[in-house]
Assembly symmetry: C2
Homo-oligomer: 213 residues x 2
Amino acid sequence: MSHEILPEPTLRRLPWYLAYVSLLHSRGVEYVSSTAIARELNVDASQIAKDLSFLSIRGKTRIGYEVAELEKELKDFLGFDSRHNAVIMGVGSLGAALISDSGLARYGLNVVAGFDVNPRLIGSTINGIPVFSPEELPERREEFNAEIGIITVPVEVAQGVADDMVAAGIRALWNFTPVRIRTAEGIAIENTSIYAHLAVMYNRLDDLRGYRK
Amino acid sequence: MSHEILPEPTLRRLPWYLAYVSLLHSRGVEYVSSTAIARELNVDASQIAKDLSFLSIRGKTRIGYEVAELEKELKDFLGFDSRHNAVIMGVGSLGAALISDSGLARYGLNVVAGFDVNPRLIGSTINGIPVFSPEELPERREEFNAEIGIITVPVEVAQGVADDMVAAGIRALWNFTPVRIRTAEGIAIENTSIYAHLAVMYNRLDDLRGYRK
């Protein structure tokens, strides 16, 4: 199995399958076919079989996949069963909210430290996680062995923070700002622009209102 | 200007332009060309001009767009200058985090009420926002005139919650669960699967490690 050839659309669908399979598991269901997953998730059954072929699990003819095994394989494949240490830059409103979200830990993300320029936050802890001055980023990143850097700072400083994180040894940036972060090759960037999602939703609402006219 | 013909990729890029233009505004820059935006955001200049043609603003030859006007137009067009009332179902870890994020209000989202089955939460307030029993959803939705429903419940109950919200008059669902929500036509659904983004990031980190070998 090679990660290199895994198509990103597959990677984005696998968590849907995991959510459904976990649900079946909690209900005591033992086997599930790709046809059944297809019906539930509105994805083509052949697509599902193809996506799942990247895992080291095989379905049985007429029975399908063993639910508990498929759940375990998906969690493992997606990295949710491993611990990934992360630091978070900017523990204002959204940053503090993310630190307080225990869901991240359930999906393998272990936030080990926060950083903020606000002197009132430096030295405090949020949800048990210490907050440091950004100046301490290089040494703390190394101390906590963090590979992931979460960016929840104001847009004006987002690019600078990204540069500092990469210089400090961060290998992957999870960017919550609407800024298009630029880095050298060899750094992973994942953008989660929740405010951009709002714009899409508002627009669709407007369209729906138009249709009703 | 018609929202109906606005391509979704355009809609997803506009918030990037807004972030950059706001930054220029805060720095006192008066004019910006699509070429300058292109250079900064690594998007084709002709694409930017095309995207901005959906707004009721025109750039001037050789000078470009007036920064303050472009910022205002973008905010208005994206709906960030309006108030959109929303209720949130599930004020556990992620839900409570979202309620506490004042950034949402800055982007036009006005969370008016939360709902949770946890008796210890019912009757409390989080960040000044009241938490009710889900039984009160229909009357409270109407009382607060909320069109948007945010879903931050466990996967097992996500579809049921979506159904309840639509039955109560919600027109747009912002789904933070990895569940593929199904609804009737005429309901907008926006999925923000932050945990799926984690999987993508972990995978890229694995790839980067592979490259270094």
